[in-house]
């Protein structure tokens, strides 16, 4: 069968650094094609070139056998190439119908026909099995519905090729399945779909073909049926790597030291039901739960971002008040938030400045961290965590997600915290950095730090947690220890309704 979209020898360089090097890509109608690769492999750049957001330096691109050169997202759309981005999707302040038809509203005498637009929107969404009020603002609907509305718009607009960038990143398991149903339906209609994701099990669930990029080159394109998971990972990493699935780290057992940090009856109405949590030095308390189960809310309470309205926190047996992150930092807490881009990094500041930030905050503005100390800290952590590129002066926004995450970890490690809270430390980062961060967690635990780690990757939690607290419906429903810790037990506990606990 002829390919719908073919790209040959795509080159792209930024500031003289080659990001894509002679990449070939073939996409057929009626297939779901996964585009995989570590962070920095060039996936995003390739997609941006194919969808018109960037211009290529060299190479050819054909759509249905005809050479095309989209110079903007709008041009690509007109050609038939639609894109749904992960983070910036639609406009929350506009209505569902306005979002679907922005820029192509039905008009008569130059005026928008609102009633017609509304009816069209309703009819269109019905085809996707969504019952949304076209006149309601998008902000009214959960992310999963918005995602499908974005897909409906992109498909309606372009109709041949659909690019999905990390479409499942913020969906829970049920929503992912609903999305996949829609994708299968589109595939049956002959759409060519490209999906970029970090979740390998989803790749095996939905994709027909995979193309793997590594360091800006295309290293393989195969039918998924011919590609065992092990080989796929090897292809992505370019080396044989033992897949760490569900292997318990034997050193993870909780120590018998007394709990240094105790939270009793701690909770906040409308956010998370009161819970008891003890954390000892030298252990990792894993927190598992579906999206919206209260994971992040727990972290926010522990770190004083939100104020608890019930319960008492004690550190070393002394009652403490935790009403702001400032209090928490003073008590020796540290926290890496989930939303790295908005809550974690300060994009325009250099890598060094980002690393020193928390230490500076603890010392106060009257005691600036001397340049020499900052240099030494940056150098030490860049080396210890293998942050790349190892240039302390580079604005952090130019680093890949995995390296930004390491820099945020470095920021807190520089303050020498006693309790470190990590919210989704491995989300959206590549497999190499992933393994390094997991090793780092084990190392910090061995050094006697107390850690609370929130993660949606169950295998990962099983690997390094001393104990696992499972959340459901904003309740702490279960605590698993020792032999109880395995993926099945966690999933079972997650499925437990929160109120029953």
């Amino acid at each position: 069968m002829d390919a719908v979209l073919t790209a040959r020898g795509i080159d792209k360089a930024f500031f003289g650094v080659k990001v894509l090097d002679g990449v070939d890509f073939d996409l057929h109608g009626g297939e779901i094609h996964a585009l995989l690769g570590e962070n920095g492999a060039g996936k995003s750049t390739l997609v941006k070139i194919l969808t018109g957001a960037y211009r290529r330096d060299a190479g050819t691109m054909q759509l249905g056998g005809i050479s095309v050169e989209p110079r903007s997202v709008a041009e690509a759309q007109d050609l038939g190439i639609g894109t749904v981005y992960q983070e910036v999707n639609l406009l929350e302040n506009l209505t569902v119908a306005e979002n679907l038809y922005l820029g192509r509203q039905p008009r008569r005498y130059g005026l928008i026909r609102r009633a017609r637009m509304r009816d069209d929107a309703r009819a269109l969404l019905t085809r996707y099995g969504i019952d949304a009020d076209p006149d309601e603002t998008l902000a009214h609907y959960p992310v999963a519905v918005r995602q499908i509305i974005a897909i409906a718009r992109a498909v309606d607009l372009s109709g041949k090729v659909l690019f999905l960038d990390e479409p499942t990143a913020s969906l829970d398991a049920r929503e992912v399945q609903a999305l996949f149903t829609v994708l299968r339906q589109l595939r049956a209609q002959g759409m060519a779909i490209v999906i970029i994701t970090h979740f390998l099990e989803q790749v095996y669930q939905i994709a027909d073909r995979v193309t793997v990029l590594r360091n800006g080159r295309m290293v393989g394109s195969r039918a998924i049926a011919d590609l065992p998971r092990r080989d796929l990972v090897a292809l992505m990493l370019g080396r044989e790597l033992a897949e760490a699935t569900g292997q318990r780290d034997p050193d993870a057992t909780p120590p018998d030291t007394p709990a240094a940090f105790r939270f009793q009856g701690y909770g906040k109405r409308g956010s998370i039901a009161p819970f008891d949590l003890d954390i000892r030095p030298g252990e990792v308390v894993g927190i598992a739960g579906l999206l919206g189960s209260g994971r992040t809310e727990t972290a926010r309470l522990l770190f004083g971002i939100d104020r608890a309205d019930s319960g008492q926190a004690t550190v070393d047996g002394q009652p403490v008040t935790l009403t702001s992150p400032e209090d928490a930092i003073r008590l020796g807490f540290g926290m890496c938030p989930e939303e790295r881009k908005s809550d974690g990094i300060v994009g325009d500041l250099s890598l060094r400045q980002n690393i020193v930030l928390a230490l500076q905050a603890r010392r106060g503005w009257a005691h600036p961290v001397p340049r020499r100390e900052a240099d030494a800290l940056a150098e030490r952590y860049i080396k210890a965590l293998d942050i790349r590129p190892p240039d302390p002066n580079r604005p952090i926004k130019f680093l890949s997600g995995g390296n930004q995450q390491k820099a945020i970890l470095a920021r807190w490690l520089a303050t020498d915290p006693r309790l470190l809270i990590l919210d989704e430390p491995t989300r959206g980062i590549d497999i190499g950095a992933h393994a390094e961060i997991i090793n780092l967690i084990a190392r910090l635990r061995a050094d006697g730090m107390a850690l609370v780690v929130i993660s949606s990757e169950i295998e990962e939690l099983v690997a390094y947690s001393s104990r696992i607290v499972v959340l459901s419906d904003r309740h702490h429903v279960r605590e698993l220890r020792g032999d109880q810790i395995n993926a099945q037990a966690i999933v079972d506990a997650m499925a437990q309704p929160g109120a029953a606990a």
Binding site: V73, Y85, N93, L102
Partner: protein
């Protein structure tokens, strides 16, 4: 059911009606076509400027040059007319100039990726300076054409008049409403106010929309300048200082989100009328200082910002509840 996003607008209308009712209780004369007509006429230039400002604020921007452009237009037109140019030609020239000035500011904002605040602040000084350059004195004008315009009116009961200025303002609002809700330009403006980044990815032409947006605001400021000139029969470079702030206040009290993306053009009309009503009340009372207008407007502004914040929080909480309950 009233949708949450329309609550601020409804609140504005209710406040206006309540306030008018209270005024009328105390001064029954205020409930007349004559007073209502005057309310429209006296606030025509502010209303026209506020229509342009509504679009700018909806897009997430701001236009601080409005007051200066009004003053410049009025002086420019007055000097031209005194020099013997026909008023119609002077008006056309003034509108072309103010529209071009706005377009230039829009282009600067887009091309230099500068905050609208900074660029229009520069525009404010430029226009004010240019007005002084033309004349520092008040320039009175009289011309048959102007008298004809001022003489146009629709009679209302009990000696009320819907003057040319009032009709001009109402027309500006009609055009504003149609532009905002029935054209792609309007939809693009709302999109910009939501998120310019998302809007761009959805194919909204940022440059064209930004230029059109500030050109429109410039045009409306110019038109407001003409209305002001007709109203006072003079051009004065020191006039209308801070009118842009009154316009911003009218827009926000009218229910538009100051950060952009949500609001109704019609709300701005009520925002303007509320300000006018307070002034009218002060005139009727006769003992109150006119500064009470500012105080009441300040309180109202504050109340509206709080109201919008509360609505936002409430809808976020509802969304969170829905997500938590799986559907």
């Amino acid at each position: 059911m009233i949708r949450a996003r329309n609550l601020p607008f409804v609140a504005t209308v209710v406040i206006f009606l309540l306030a008018y009712a209270l005024c009328a209780l105390q001064f029954p004369n205020m409930l007349s076509f004559r007073v209502a007509g005057n309310l429209l006429t006296d606030n025509a230039f502010l209303g026209i400027a506020a229509v342009g400002m509504t679009f700018v604020i909806l897009s997430g921007g701001i236009d601080l040059s409005v007051g200066s452009v009004i003053a410049f237009t009025s002086v420019f037109v007055a000097v031209l007319i005194r020099a013997g140019v026909h008023p119609a030609l002077a008006f056309a020239l003034a509108l072309a100039l103010s529209t071009g000035f706005g377009a230039l500011m829009g282009l600067t904002i887009h091309a230099l990726k500068m905050p609208a605040f900074v660029v229009t602040l520069a525009g404010m000084f430029l226009a004010r300076g240019a007005a002084f350059l033309i004349s520092t004195d008040s320039v009175p004008i009289s011309h048959d054409f102007l008298r004809t315009l001022k003489g146009l009116y629709i009679s209302l009961p009990d000696k009320g008049r819907l003057t040319f200025l009032a009709m001009l303002m109402l027309a500006a609002f009609v055009i504003g409403v149609v532009l905002a809700h029935r054209t792609r330009f309007g939809a693009n403006v709302y999109a910009l106010g939501g998120s310019s980044q998302s809007a761009e990815l959805m194919g909204v032409p940022l440059r064209r929309t930004t230029v059109q947006l500030y050109a429109f605001s410039g045009f409306m400021a110019g038109l407001a300048g003409l209305a002001y000139t007709l109203y006072t029969s003079a051009g004065y470079s020191l006039a209308t200082v801070g009118v842009e702030l009154d316009a911003i206040a009218a827009v926000v009290v009218g229910g538009t989100l100051l950060t952009g993306g949500a609001g109704l053009v019609l709300g701005t009309l009520f925002g303007v009328l509320i300000q006018g009503l307070i002034q009218m009340y002060i005139v009727f009372d006769g003992t109150l200082s006119s500064w009470w207008t500012k105080i009441v407007v300040g309180l109202l502004l504050f109340a509206f910002i709080v109201l919008q914040r509360l609505i936002l929080l409430a809808s976020e909480r509802r969304a969170a509840m829905r997500a938590a309950h799986g559907g």
